[in-house]
């Protein structure tokens, strides 16, 4: 369905020295440097898949999405979606995709929501019969009825996002690109949106590419994630593999009563753990011990700690997906 090969995007950036003087200088003698926003990324997406596309801010997620949607022309490399090259045959191509940029609305700001849908119906040449069916479906999934006659400027962020997703689905696209569809929303609305995305995917077989910073989105919606950092792909695979790989890690947190007591503890020797299976962080008072629970049982580690030193507070945490990703962002896979 989607095939991305060695996709690359470079931007030319003018370097300016600070201040007005620097600005004037760069006007006459501009210095430029080339910034690689996306660095030879390749991946494939099957039909009907929901792919989570994650990475820290500035990793190049949006740039990839913009290339896949035909907004940006890649510097090199190829992407083929549904047999079409986005930036080559743009007008034909965009008929088959839906795009939502969470930070920007595509609705007509001053008009009733219904008017936006009426215009989109014409732009995408949706027949009256299909339009009725689509609106019924989208209304059921996204519950638009209560605000469809209000001007878009009066909608709440949650309503607006639902309206935006409906707008992108009106022409029944084969691929749906969602760039941060849950940004800034409260928990309940997030839940609604996730359920809607899931339903659209199940009932229409729509392939969904989703970028997000909310890892619950990923956990609830995606079977597979592609993670990028500094323009490079750092992970591509099922989310379960990641959990499996890092999932046995547990984190033991405690507060020391006596600051010097830490030297009395030697987890590595006691449980014969290698560097891969153990990490100890301490700021003098608070100590975090991350260890592989397959090599050393939680019970034993806890017992050893409590027997060796006095602590004022202690807890054991599961490695959740957030923790895993934080580690990967920090260290790489």
């Amino acid at each position: 369905m989607i095939s991305v090969q060695n996709l690359r995007k470079e931007f030319k950036k003018t370097i300016k020295e600070p201040g007005l003087k620097g600005s004037v200088k760069s006007l006459f003698k501009p210095k430029t440097e080339i910034i690689t926003a996306v660095d030879n990324i390749s991946f494939e997406v099957e039909k009907g898949e929901i792919l989570g596309f994650i990475g820290p801010n500035g990793a190049g997620k949006s740039t990839v999405i913009k290339m896949l949607t035909g907004i940006l022309t890649p510097t090199s490399g190829e992407c083929m979606i549904n047999g079409q090259i986005p930036y080559k045959n743009r007008k034909e191509y965009v008929k088959e995709i839906g795009v939502v940029f969470g930070q920007r609305t595509q609705l007509w700001w001053d008009l009733a929501l219904r008017e936006t849908y009426a215009v989109l119906k014409e732009i995408y040449e949706v027949s009256d019969k299909d339009y009725k069916e689509r609106m019924a479906f989208l209304n059921e999934v996204l519950d638009l009825e209560s605000f469809i006659t209000s001007p878009v400027r009066t909608l709440s962020l949650g309503q607006r996002m639902r309206a935006d997703i409906a707008a992108s689905m009106l022409h029944n696209p084969k691929v749906l690109f969602l760039d941060e569809p849950t940004i800034g929303l409260d928990v309940v609305v997030k839940d609604n949106i996730r359920r809607a995305i899931q339903k659209i995917n199940e009932e229409e077989g729509t392939t969904v590419i989703l970028t997000t910073h909310d890892l619950s989105d990923i956990e609830l919606l995606c079977n597979r994630i592609v993670m990028i950092d500094k323009g490079k792909k750092v992970y591509d695979g099922p989310i379960n593999d990641l959990k499996h790989k890092y999932g046995q890690m547990r984190e033991l947190c405690f507060e020391l009563k006596n600051q010097d007591a830490l030297s009395a503890l030697d987890y590595a020797k006691t449980f014969s753990l290698s560097d891969d299976d153990l990490a100890v962080d301490s700021d003098g008072v608070e100590v975090k011990v991350r260890f592989n629970s397959q090599k050393a049982s939680v019970q034993e580690v806890l017992k050893y700690t409590l027997n060796s030193i006095d602590v004022s507070d202690i807890s054991v945490k599961d490695a959740d997906i957030e923790e895993i990703i934080r580690r990967i962002y920090k260290e790489g896979v």
């Binding site: 907004i71 940006l72 022309t73 007008k91 034909e92 008009l111 008017e115 009426a118 732009i123 001007p151």
Partner: protein, 263 residues
């Protein structure tokens, strides 16, 4: 083609609905606009009452050229005003994304999105000045030439629009080009008067470089005197088409260079 007109109608009606949405703004805007037009008519009256004739053109002929110059300008203003926003903010803020994710031509989409009601005033004034000057000239009107003049209007509009497309497309590389558009556009003030009053430098510029002379003086002078028919008529057609072709090429290259903005 049918689809284009259909979309055009829909967008215009949406735009008018949007104007009606803010009633106070619309009413005050309309009043202010009528006042502005009244002042301008007064101003033209004062200027031309000082000029009995100019470089061989009578007062009425000058008035006709001036009036005719407003027609293509007004039509361009009415339908293609949104191009200004491309150079001023749409590209810089990354809002051009929207136009690229729809299955219609991006240039068409940009222009169709706005419909400038203000331009009716210019159009009306142009018609008034033309009628008034024709009544005063009162010779027998050459219907053949009148028809040709009418047919040249779309080409004259195309010159205005092409200049805007060309200069606003520069923003795809420079992020902002509104002031460039403004600078080029300002040259059209020269086109309101007979080209023969200018020195050769300006003449060459407004004939061949930024060919605004073809939006008013050349077609109008052909109508009035029937001289230089080939140059005036064919020139308007060819120059406008050439300029439009170039502007489309630059626009399409620009889209490939478009960098969007961070989100």
């Amino acid at each position: 083609m049918k689809r284009i007109f259909r979309l055009h109608r829909i967008f215009i009606s949406q735009h008018l609905k949007r104007l009606m949405e803010y009633k106070v703004d619309f009413t005050v805007g309309a009043i202010g606009f009528l006042l502005g037009q009244a002042v301008e008519i007064l101003f033209i009256g004062i200027i031309f009452s000082q000029i009995p004739d100019l470089a061989g053109w009578t007062f009425d002929e000058i008035l006709f050229i001036y009036g005719f110059s407003l027609i293509p300008k007004a039509i361009d203003h009415m339908f293609f005003d949104n191009l200004w926003m491309i150079g001023y903010s749409i590209v810089r803020k990354g809002d051009f994304d929207k136009y690229l994710t729809r299955p219609i031509n991006s240039l068409f989409y940009v222009t169709v999105e706005k419909f400038q009601v203000d331009a009716f005033g210019e159009l009306l004034m142009g018609i008034i000045l033309i009628t008034y000057s024709l009544i005063r000239i009162s010779g027998n009107i050459m219907w053949q030439r009148a028809l040709i003049l009418l047919l040249l209007v779309p080409f004259a509009v195309l010159i205005y629009t092409s200049v805007k497309i060309l200069t606003s497309a520069i923003s795809f590389w420079t992020k902002q080009s509104g002031h460039i558009t403004h600078m080029f556009y300002a040259v059209n003030d020269f086109a309101k008067y007979p080209v023969t009053i200018y020195n050769d430098f300006i003449k060459v510029i407004i004939t061949y470089i930024i060919p605004f002379a073809f939006t008013a003086y050349y077609p109008a002078s052909f109508f009035l005197r029937g001289e230089n028919g080939w140059f005036c008529v064919l020139g308007t057609v060819l120059i406008s088409l050439a300029l439009f072709g170039i502007s489309l090429i630059v626009w399409n290259r620009g889209i490939k260079a478009y960098e969007s903005a961070g989100s």
